[in-house]
Symmetry: C2
Subunit: 415 residues, 2 copies
């Protein structure tokens, strides 16, 4: 559908990252360059929920300088959402409502930024509008620290989170061995089903300051083997061991270790508020009798914009800008992908497109042949894959020694 003229709607969805706002900046700054076709630029408050609630911001009223600062501002500046379209109390009316709002505001460009679930939303909206003969160019913009979207070499958000994980583990490596007494450190990294982010620990190993053991959700987790592995490292290493576990490690029956260990150790029926690292720490303490320190990277790993990867920030921006260029050029029903190649022997990344339904609800995990050391390490292939994604520093300008993040006016759109 070429030369559509009308308003643009952009939404952020799913867990935020250090660079999801960089993609927003890419969409907004590029969109404002096309006033001939894009008559208005809207940002949905809390993703698809903001569209249903008719609550979105008029981005044309924002200062250009603040839009630039979005590149270095973590979290989702517009607000995010985990709403499954069609599954709410009035879910059956969701699609009709979206069509109604799109018609009212003459939305002819729609971009949705998120992971698998968000691409599913994007796909469903795209198909529904097409079926109803409403012309709208729709492009998904990928993001996820989990790096588990299919069809793209990697996902914006992953590089920065990986850089945080590797940098912090190098620092922890130095800290954890400072005393001449035993210490087992168990670090928990995000990733429910794909181990990409946990695997970033291998970058610290590559630099000689990594953990001893890395456990991914791709490999069935056995508590007894884990204890034996830790014991082995302790025996060789003056009772010191650093293990990194994914929050999503599962036993051979596919049950999350964090879940069944929590129910086994908490008689009060409290939800286990910490993660699997605390349960494993108790086990190690009981069975090995060494001092243990569990450390959960928690939200820090997804919002540490102060240690973002420049490569990631630029690619996230480019993915957003590319989405607009593709849509203005007539593309729809697609997701932007990042394709790795080489230029003069150096890593080079360009954007392409794939059908959005192929990205929806699929999950890319780490190739089995990249997992080494009896399920506790990563091969050189992984390091070669991940290293280019964490290159360079990019962060917010400093004000009073602290980051100056974007401040949006968030003027609600009216018609």
């Amino acid at each position: 559908m070429k030369n559509l003229k009308g308003a643009l709607m952009f939404g952020q969805s799913g867990g935020p990252t250090s660079v999801i706002n960089a993609s927003a900046a890419g969409v907004f700054i590029e969109a404002l360059k096309h006033p001939d076709l894009i008559t208005k630029v809207y940002g949905a408050a809390h993703g698809i929920k903001g569209i249903l609630d008719e609550k979105f911001y008029d981005i044309g009223q924002e200062d250009k300088k603040e839009l630039e600062l979005l590149k270095y501002t973590p979290s989702s500046a517009l607000g995010s959402v985990r709403y499954k379209i069609g599954k709410g109390p009035d879910g059956d009316k969701d699609y009709d409502r979206i069509l109604e709002v799109f018609k009212k505001y003459n939305i002819r460009y729609f971009f949705y930024n998120g992971g698998n679930d968000s691409m599913d939303t994007c796909n469903k909206v795209s198909k529904f509008l097409a079926k109803n003969g409403y012309e709208c160019n729709i492009i998904g913009v990928p993001k996820t620290i989990d790096n588990d979207l299919c069809g793209t070499d990697h996902c914006p958000g992953y590089g920065s989170a990986a850089k945080y994980v590797a940098t912090t583990l190098m620092e922890l490596n130095l800290d954890a061995k400072v005393y001449n007494t035993g210490l087992v450190t168990i670090v928990e990294v995000m990733g429910r089903n794909a181990g990409w982010l946990t695997a970033a620990a291998a970058l610290a190993v590559y630099k000689g300051l990594g953990p001893d053991l890395i456990y991914l959700p791709e490999t069935p987790f056995d508590v007894d083997k884990f204890v034996a592995d830790v014991k082995d490292v302790c025996a060789k290493n003056n009772n010191k061991c650093i293990a990194v576990v994914s929050e999503g490690i599962k036993n051979k029956d596919g049950k999350y270790v964090g879940e069944f260990m929590a129910s086994a150790t908490d008689l009060f029926g409290h939800a286990q508020l910490g993660g699997v690292c605390f349960a494993l720490a108790n086990i190690v303490k009981e069975r090995i009798g060494v001092k243990v320190r569990p450390i959960e990277f928690s939200l820090l790993q997804r919002c540490a914009a102060h240690v973002a990867s420049k490569t990631d920030v630029e690619e996230a921006f480019n993915a957003g800008a590319a989405a607009v260029k593709y849509a203005v050029g007539g593309e729809t029903d697609k997701m932007v992908t990042l394709i790795r190649s080489e230029k003069n022997g150096e890593y080079f990344c360009e954007t392409k497109l794939m059908p959005v339904e192929q990205a929806a609800n699929s999950e890319k995990t780490i190739p089995a042949e990249w997992i080494t050391n009896n399920g506790t390490g990563l091969s050189k292939e992984f390091v070669d894959y991940a290293l280019p994604l964490i290159q360079g520093d990019a962060k917010a300008p400093s004000e009073d020694g602290l980051p100056r993040f974007a401040k949006l006016k968030k003027v609600l759109a009216k018609i």
Copy 2:
């Protein structure tokens, strides 16, 4: 004691910081400039323990470039220790043993880098050697993220940890409000008896992206009041609240909240491996029924050299270098202090000296008049005090997108 000629011994003690190695760099680089008086430069492995065990490194054999990199390398490169002198199994022989080792290696300069306990060690060694007529110039070099040493305006290590706490809380502030659903975030910061580091959360408040509530060990902590405070914030703020608590919060009887809550909630008799934030999270979940996320900054806050304060790095280096200059000039039995003044209306910091026994085992807490908002906030005076300490960025050079930390050869000294 002027113009002593002999070897120099330097040791690191207590919990490491992002910049304790910057002080080591200051001592080593300055010491190597005085070959006329300082015949050898030794670094003790694991502080006083390395002296007792006659295990120390010959720093003269290290590459100058690696000594420079120590400025940006977190943790204690020589190894640290928490050994209380005179309290070990052969404790009564400790002092004699130190004298013996000092005589054997002709140690005439001794520098010890640490907090209150380490200054106590420094003081005891100083007094013992003097009593026994052994000439040795001894200077303590302060460090602690707790910032609780008396007689110095602030302590090397504090500024960088404070910068980490403030920066990370700003990022968390953006992340924690991203969904349109309720969330109470409880962040735990180090500091057993002094709240300086927890108070750094007020710097994020000053920048408009701080927590709603800050609890210091200086103010008696009441669980019911805490729950009421959180409820109040939630009521005003769409069920969102960020509270920051010191690990050292105590009830009105002076008992650590983390300790008595742990024993009350853990029927298995496991030691509570996480801190007080987990116990408080359970309480908030039960009594308010909102989603809660406890986050413990754990070791990350003391080793995050990638977000170190340039001011702190420089002052830590200068404190080490000044110790050597003072000692070469004949000073002994002192601790280096940092004295704040102004130069052309700008923050300016110079080093001075104080008797080391005055620093030993004393603790400086936050002035009561700086604590506001019914024990949940800090005054402008605190912000004015802390802000100059977090200025500027200083970090290790990048290699493969990750920090290139110092690599010491650690050649054991022989005689």
